[in-house]
């Protein structure tokens, strides 16, 4: 049975899982969820994701929610394909991958999220971007990226000299960040910029990025 991913190509969390599926060349079906119509709050969808958020994933009798858990599952399921984004064969490398996955989840993601919300979602709801909130978040993002800049001056990717799920998890938030004036936070840090250009040019993500149309008319 083909994996079913319920979500929207333009959503950051859906895009995270899509990128992982494309890296492994996995067979899957993207099933659109009518968010404007409130489909994600209806019983059918809540049975898939009890928090009423996208995405949700079904694989045979397994139902998953939380995008970072889904990408880990996909990486674990297909690790025999020759690509192992979790570095499962090496206990220490795997621990470093987990560490930088947590950094995305706990440090950079929460700092970037308000910027994406202000630039893309607030205007869609008819509001105006709150510049004071953007400035406050930009300062936080900058401090976190200073740590990335130092790390990426010693290794090509976050967990070492290998592309991993830790790098992949950053792509969707950074893609939208790069479409805002806050792109300078990446561009003014040479090692972060080189890393971004490297990871965002991978074919799997380029396919996904073509569907990331949030904010476009």
């Amino acid at each position: 049975m083909t994996i079913k991913l319920y979500g929207l190509a333009m959503s950051t969390c859906t895009a995270r899982v899509l990128t992982c599926l494309h890296e492994y060349g996995a067979e899957f079906e993207l099933v659109p969820v009518n968010m404007l119509g409130g489909e994600h709050k209806q019983p059918d969808f809540l049975a898939k994701n009890p928090f009423g958020q996208i995405p949700a994933l079904e694989d045979d009798d397994l139902t998953l929610f939380e995008s970072r858990a889904m990408s880990s599952y996909v990486a674990e399921k297909f690790k025999g394909s020759g690509c192992d984004l979790l570095r499962t064969e090496n206990l220490k490398e795997a621990a470093l991958v987990k560490t930088w996955m947590e950094v995305e989840s706990q440090q950079l993601g929460p700092a970037i999220a308000p910027i994406i919300y202000q630039y893309f979602l607030v205007p869609m709801q008819g509001g105006s971007t709150n510049q004071a909130l953007v400035d406050e978040s930009s300062e936080k993002v900058g401090k976190v990226l200073d740590v990335y800049e130092k790390k990426l001056s010693s290794t090509k990717y976050l967990a070492g000299d290998f592309y991993s799920l830790a790098d992949l998890h950053h792509l969707s938030y950074l893609y939208y960040l790069m479409k805002t004036p806050c792109a300078k936070l990446i561009n003014e840090r040479p090692h972060v910029k080189a890393w971004w250009e490297d990871i965002s040019s991978r074919p799997a993500f380029k396919t996904v990025a073509s569907g990331m149309t949030l904010g476009e008319k």
Copy 2:
């Protein structure tokens, strides 16, 4: 070489890793960090955790930060001991463990954190608990716990009928929450309450809880 955990027994994130180490009966040394003296912002400590936060873990030549990555590493390292809190042998169970680890990290943790901050850390800094903020957070925690209540009415633990790292990750935040008036959020949900009583009575956590003295004179 013995694992070194740099942190404080009373800290929620340190306690998360300590609980995991005790579950596996791992040999380790807890190295206190003088937070009041600003040790965590000094170069020696920043070399261990570049974000200047506790805990940090050293195992031989490996240095880790982010508590959830550390506990996953400990569970992976000692899984041959007969205890496998990650359910690594079963792809689907492992995915459900990861899912509920993410729920703690993305949903319940962020909702509880402001309550712990208001009840324990603000008074230590000479301030008063902001009741409006507590009320707002309590409402969020309640909504998340409604999902837990439903889930725990069908399985004994979060990821299934087995204790896992997903349950363990909740212990330290919930322990402090239970020392506040917000304990009612747990007590008024029978399945959540039974689950809490079960997981908090495990010997590994009872050992750790004896050192969780935040807010005590």
